[in-house]
């Protein structure tokens, strides 16, 4: 008779009987188990009572940022609505310096619209800054013949 037959004859699980489980528990295990669990719970309760707050908690960090953002928005809104109106200085054509004209690249129509004839006479144009002598010397340097130059000047 092999082990299985022996086992089956003694304790057939098909008949509802069961073999001895064979598993043992250390002596006094269940008594000490309760104490061990209660000790763990006591420990856990202490932790709950004294929560450790991390110095750099993500949640705190986000909270601080959101509070700062709201504060900044409020301050901006207050400044916009309560500050005295400041009119930005505007410039007209009359205030433009002659040198600015080049920058603005104004054409003669724009100039005519914005300046009187007297004012226009006062404006010194670019060619006035170059004397005939300067032109003559320049052309000489560029090998134009003196005769031709004298004819044209």
């Amino acid at each position: 008779m092999n082990n299985y037959d022996k086992h089956k004859n003694q304790n057939s699980f098909e008949e509802g009987a069961k073999p001895d489980s064979g598993l043992r528990v250390p002596n006094g295990y269940f008594e000490s188990f309760e104490k061990s669990i209660l000790a763990q719970i006591k420990e856990e309760t202490k932790k709950v009572e004294k929560p450790v707050v991390p110095l750099k908690s993500n949640r705190n960090y986000k909270r601080i940022i959101s509070v700062l953002a709201v504060a900044a928005a409020l301050i901006s809104a207050i400044m916009v609505f309560t500050a005295p109106d400041k009119v930005a200085p505007t410039s007209g054509f009359t205030e433009l310096e002659i040198t600015d004209w080049e920058v603005y690249d104004l054409d003669e129509y724009a100039l005519a619209e914005n300046f009187t004839l007297e004012e226009m006479d006062e404006i010194s144009f670019e060619e006035d800054y170059i004397s005939n002598q300067d032109i003559y010397e320049y052309l000489l340097e560029e090998n134009y013949s003196e005769i031709l130059l004298l004819e044209n000047l």
Partner: protein, 185 residues
Amino acid sequence: MSEILEKQITDLISRGDFDKAFGLIMSGFKERLYWHIRNMIISHDDTDDILQNTFIKIWRYLPKFEGRSQVYSWAYRIATNETLSFIEQKKRKPTESLDKEESYLANSLMADEYFDGDYAEALFREAVQSLPEKQRLVFNMKYFQEMKYSEISTVLETSVGALKASYHHAVKKVEAFVKTKNTLI
């Protein structure tokens, strides 16, 4: 499961006396839950760890217990989930494969200081361990713990019909396993 104990516990919970309720759960259920886990895991040390986790969870979630199910089936469910999680975790460790353990279980059981059965019993345990987890749960609850199908049904949230079929298959597999092993001896 004692209905008087169940009522005492639910009364204490409804009064908010969780410490006393927990004390009753622990004294009333610890042995049954221990064997429920031990029959699945076999090792006493692992069972001890799982049982501790189970009771810590029971204590933690007791204030949230709404009485939709009986306390004992709720406690059993926690123990079952803890046991299955443990098995899953162990499966993920390649060096500690359950398959390997199963194939050597009978021999290792014989060397276990908390096992005093003979080789036939060790072989029988190995046969049970070879069952798929859910089937093993059903087999252990029905065979070792002698729970009614209706009780197992509440714990595992499975129909009685499915449980009966599962148990029937498990018995056949265990028989076949033991026969095969014995012919090899």
